[in-house]
């Protein structure tokens, strides 16, 4: 048996002398041709887009470099002019102060403006190159530009959410509100949800589902906060109302026994 198998394997000709199926060859060839054409198309697309991608990165790198240089120059000039001291004397920034000095802030803003400019010019170059190099249409490009706006929205929203959350937390703690942390969290998430909805809207993702979900979430958070504050202050409100009703209805009560005087603390 083994020798028979070995003999069969050594044979050049097929074991079964079936007649050749000529159409089989044409299908394979057609598949191969189709694959080659597809590969060629994708490669030519990539080759067409590649200059655009390269232009995008070059524009970004060049503008980032220019931004770095100009920002360093600005920082040097402003430090020489004692810009921080002048701003402090002018009294600006008393209500809202960034986490850096005005000089550092100006330099940083300049740098990021240049980076943004590079991004816009890069995307524009990519767009031009792509439009020339290909006849295909797909919807990636609008997202590249829209995503920049969405990212900025997210960053701004997160900063505002953090600022407001801290303001509410500190104010509520100093006012001795027992639900201070809850209130702060509520405000933070309100702003974050609003920001997320705006970013998704900007990216054209979700459509009416986002609006609906945002409405439900926002309304839910507001209702939760209102309930929490209302329930938390229930006793306070009822005491206030009771004292008001009692004052108007009841006869004046006899004077209470004298309590020891409390020293007043004068902070200033």
């Amino acid at each position: 048996m083994i020798s028979l198998l070995a003999t069969m394997l050594q044979q050049d000709r097929p074991l079964m002398p079936y007649p050749p199926y000529t159409e089989n060859v044409s299908i394979l060839r057609q598949m191969s041709d189709a694959l080659h054409m597809s590969l060629n198309r994708v490669l030519s697309l990539l080759i067409g887009v590649l200059p655009g991608i390269l232009a995008f990165f070059v524009a970004l790198a060049v503008f980032a470099l220019i931004g770095k240089v100009i920002s360093a120059f600005l920082r040097w000039i402003l430090t020489l002019c004692k810009f921080d001291a002048r701003m402090a004397r002018a009294g600006t920034g008393a209500d809202w102060t960034p986490s850096n000095s005005p000089t550092a802030l100006t330099a940083r803003i300049t740098f990021w403006v240049f980076v943004l400019l590079g991004l816009v010019i890069g995307v524009s170059a990519f767009d031009t190159s792509y439009a020339v190099g290909s006849a295909l249409s797909f919807s990636l490009l609008p997202y590249v530009t829209h995503s920049v706006g969405a990212i900025l929205l997210l960053i701004g929203g997160t900063l505002v959410a953090r600022f407001l959350a801290r303001s509410v937390l500190i104010g509520a703690v100093n006012a001795q509100l027992q639900y201070a942390r809850f209130l702060s969290l509520g405000v933070k998430w309100l702003v974050l949800v609003l920001t997320a909805a705006m970013a998704l809207e900007h990216l054209d993702i979700g459509g009416s589902i986002v609006e609906l979900a945002f409405g439900i979430l926002f309304g839910g958070i507001v209702l939760t906060l209102a309930l929490a504050v209302g329930l938390g202050s229930r006793q306070l409100v009822s005491r206030s109302l009771e004292s008001h009703v009692e004052r108007s209805d009841r006869a004046p009560e006899p004077p209470s026994p004298p309590t020891p005087p409390t020293e007043t603390i004068r902070h200033f």
Binding site: W96, T97, F163, V173, E263
Partner: protein
Amino acid sequence: MASADSISELSSPSPPPVTGLLVIVPAMLPENLEVLLNNLAVVFPGEGLLVATESPAPALVPAGLRIVAAPPWGSGWSLTAADFLHAWGLAQEHQARAILLLGPGADSLGAGALRLLANGVLAGSVDLAVPRYVLPPHAGMINSAILYPLTRALFATRVRFPAAIDLGLSPRMPQQLAAAAQRTAGDPEAMLWPVNEAAVAGFAIEEFDVGARALPQPADADINPILARVTGSLFADIEMKAAYWQRARRVPPARRAPAEAPRVDGAADVTRMVESFHFAYSNLLEIWSLVLPPYSLLGLKHLSQMSALEFRMPDSLWARIVYDFLVAYRLRTINRGHLLGALIPLYLGWVAGHINLTVAGTSAEAHIEAVAAAFEADKPYLVSRWRWPDRFNA
């Protein structure tokens, strides 16, 4: 004995004579103004004293006093940039040799106090005469906790009330203060720190015991805006004068301590302040940890476990906290409004500890001096953090 100079007579276009002492008085009730004028007449008989006030002159002005009209000013509980500009304008207009700037409620100052403040500057040996008030117990807490210790440690002066509202000024002192006021032109209500200005300018400062005085209080008793305004202003001034105070300077030796005000029966509401601190500890720890190093946070943790009766904030811990907040103010670690808001519960904790100590028998003044000494001892820490803040973040 009495004359009735009218304001219209005094505002004639002829060049003003050189005035010895110019007393600037804010608006006050006629009866209070009368008391003050009588005190001045007793102290400076026949010296041709010039009094500038926006209040209408009383019918009977004591002899030797001249009243001139002054625009509205100084109606608040602290002296502002606008007040000093106003004083400088009046001093120039009347070519005064010395100025006595009095705050609201100055009629409660005794005649001797007025003489002490004026004589120093009239003699020419002092540029800034500052009063040392005797206040009721548990009054002027921000001054005792923050203003006095910081001013003493950084500007090497023992002036007990750096934010005093009655000042004696030599002719060059209003000029210095007006220059400082012009730097804050954006906010005429900004507070100025005359002691700091005088120290930086190298002017002579002298403190005089003036006894008890009724200090005007802010209309809104809420501590939040008061602490934020006063502390924020002092922090900003310290930031501006960093080149001066970073040098080591010897604080002048202590003077004889003035008699303390008699104690009042009854206890202050310490429990509420301690509860406020505990509540803040459970909520603001995240924000405090952005400003304070682990050592201070550990100290606060120990404090959070103390009951109201045993609550004491160690002097060294309080000094570190204030210094760390000052550095965070400079570095803008967090928003400055948030920073000063986060300081309030810590300050209330200090006040609670201070009251507990005084109730236990410690002299209030002795404790305040100990706190100031702790600030002095820890000044190298502030200087190091100021110069190399990142070294402490590792």
